[in-house]
């Protein structure tokens, strides 16, 4: 019942149906166990994320998907298991240290800076890339000005890319839900991450907004070569977007493979149909 689908050979690269070459392994998650007091949220889960792929994490509510993202992101620290990133074993890290490694994320319930404008929100994504000393920044002098202009250019490009020019100056607290999701994605992109974690990027959206968001995710992956790991409930969307899918259920790994493999997996069908 509970056997995993064949995983593509982890050390290698593979070519997706639409012709992109994916790999080698960027992040290797090994035997993660996460407990909250007596509750075990993640039970001995291992899978990997390969460079350049769109990896989906799916599963019923309470399966441990968000916990998994939070482990990768450094919000939670697993009691057991290892995370290998770019060939190195990662020590226990704080979220901002994980961000420094080039891992960006969005949140299930949008975490934006509500008092700031769209532009300022996205500029915070450039925080780690700014190098000039605060003294020169204060005086708005020389290199500091050049640097600010440079970062603004990157941010403007992302704003164009995500088609949010019209809300550039608006305080994000006043924006409708769909747009806020987009601003959050823009902020994550501004970090120019190697790995982008999206926690339910399409939750609560209508069909049209979902289509837009899917298009953006595909474009990000293709244009910037960003590796993406996303949690999503809409199976149609997952099957369209993802190169490979991990299925979690009650904190355990249920299946791991291409969308087709996962869809035809009996254990997955049972879990989703509640048999």
């Amino acid at each position: 019942m509970n056997q995993a689908v064949q995983v593509p050979d982890s050390a290698d690269t593979f070519v997706t149906p639409d012709g992109r070459t994916v790999g080698p392994v960027m992040m290797d998650i090994r035997n993660i166990v996460l407990r909250f007091g007596g509750v075990t949220a993640i039970k001995d889960v291992s899978f990997n994320i390969m460079k350049g792929e769109v990896r989906a994490i799916i599963g019923p509510n309470g399966a441990g998907k968000s916990s998994m993202i939070n482990v990768i992101n450094g919000f939670y620290h697993p009691q057991e298991g290892e995370i290998w990133f770019n060939g190195k074993k990662r020590p226990s890290m704080k979220p901002y240290e994980v961000a420094e490694q080039g891992i960006a994320r969005t949140f299930q319930n949008i975490a934006l800076f509500h008092g700031m404008s769209t532009l300022d929100n996205i500029m915070t994504g450039r925080q780690l890339k700014m190098k000039t000393g605060f003294f020169w920044q204060m005086l708005r002098y020389g290199k500091a000005i050049e640097e600010e202009t440079e970062h603004r250019a990157v941010v403007e490009e992302i704003i164009d890319f995500l088609e949010i020019q019209h809300i550039r100056k608006a305080p994000v607290g006043s924006l409708p839900y769909g747009l806020r999701k987009r601003v959050e994605l823009a902020r994550a992109l501004a970090m120019e991450p190697d790995l982008l974690l999206l926690d339910e990027p399409m939750a609560g959206m209508n069909v049209e907004e979902k289509e837009d968001m899917s298009r953006f995710i595909i474009d990000v992956n293709e244009q910037y070569g960003t590796t993406i790991a996303l949690i999503e409930h809409d199976m149609g969307v997952v099957m369209d977007l993802a190169d490979r899918v991990v299925v979690l259920d009650y904190g355990k790994l249920l299946a791991d493979g291409t969308p087709d493999e996962v869809q035809s997996n009996q254990a997955v069908i049972d879990a989703y149909l509640g048999v």
Binding site: Y96, Q127, F134, P171
Partner: protein, 315 residues
């Protein structure tokens, strides 16, 4: 009716030099209120914590400086050492108060700052004793004496110390304003103030930011302590001036640096004018409550203050 609506203005007009003097005195105490309020705003912006200990930090900073001087440390050096002590305080507060309490309710953090207040009062009295101390002024380069201006036969006296205080406060505020609007630490600070989780996810370390703001508040406290101490004495009674910051904050908004400044000036000048020209009608002593009445009026009609963040709520 005449006494309330006409007579005060007649007085202002007939004795313009006295009027200017009153405005100036009000302005000077307004600057000090602004400085105290600024200390609160800095920490509130960055952590959403109302720092009850700001008042005692003012006393503690000033006492450290005077205490060091009494031990034989030269004037300027004692200022630098006092800054060092404020940095040590900022570091300790972050390490042993903020960090263990991260993610707790705001009210818990608020209570922690009350605890800090008592620790600083107790610690301060143990180290420096409870006696008031005279502030050192000429030893750290502050001028004394008066500057007398005689416009058309009248006389207005500006204390040089007050002028210096205003200039220094202005420079300090300008420096902080530039620091927080144009540097990446400034942007990080605003980000942290808004959403801790989102801030760390873009790579902003909370610990460093908190040390920065507590130190900035410590610098403001030291400057306030020097200025205020020079006008009276440095004693633990000074910490109650911090209460005056509350109406200033209500007026200016808890999150706005310009608000703290304008609010402080309005309260400083307003309460002085009211006391001099209207106070006599109701028996005087209005300075102790006037600010709070203004604050009440603001709470009724503009709860976010003059410059506070707009309250945006999507339902």
């Amino acid at each position: 009716m005449y006494d309330v609506f006409i007579d005060p203005f007649v007085q202002m007009y007939s004795l313009p030099d006295f009027f200017i003097q009153v405005l100036w005195e009000g302005f000077v105490s307004g600057v000090l209120y602004s400085l105290i309020a600024l200390g609160f705003v800095l920490i509130f912006k960055a952590s959403g914590v109302f720092n009850f200990a700001q008042g005692i930090m003012v006393v503690f900073a000033a006492l450290s400086m005077v205490g060091l001087y009494e031990l034989g440390v030269p004037g300027w050096l004692s200022v630098i050492f006092a800054l060092g002590i404020m940095y040590a305080l900022a570091f300790s507060v972050e390490r042993w108060i903020m960090r263990p309490l991260v993610g707790q309710e705001d009210i818990i953090l608020f209570m922690a700052t009350i605890g800090l207040t008592f620790m600083l009062i107790g610690g301060g009295q143990a180290i420096f004793g409870g006696e008031p101390k005279a502030m050192i002024t000429s030893e750290i380069g502050l001028p004394s004496g008066d500057y007398v201006w005689e416009p058309g036969g009248g006389i207005v006296i500006f204390q040089k110390l007050d002028i210096a205080a205003t200039v220094i406060a202005g420079l300090l505020i300008a420096g902080l304003a530039f620091f927080f609007s144009y540097t990446k630490i400034g942007r990080a600070l605003r980000a942290v103030a808004d959403d801790h989780q989102a801030a760390v996810s873009v790579g902003i370390g909370l610990n460093q930011i908190w040390v920065v703001v507590w130190f900035a508040a410590g610098i403001v406290a030291l400057v306030t302590g020097i200025m205020w101490g020079a006008k009276s004495d440095v004693s633990f009674a000074l910490q109650i001036v911090a209460l005056k910051a509350l109406p200033v904050l209500v007026l200016g908004g808890f999150t706005s640096i310009p608000g703290a400044i304008v609010g402080g000036l309005i309260i400083g000048i307003g309460e002085k004018l009211f006391e001099i020209y209207w106070g006599g009608l109701i028996g005087g002593g209005t300075e102790s409550w006037f600010a709070f009445i203004i604050a009440l009026v603001f709470l009724l009609f503009r709860p976010q203050g003059l410059f506070g963040d707009k309250i945006i709520e999507r339902v």
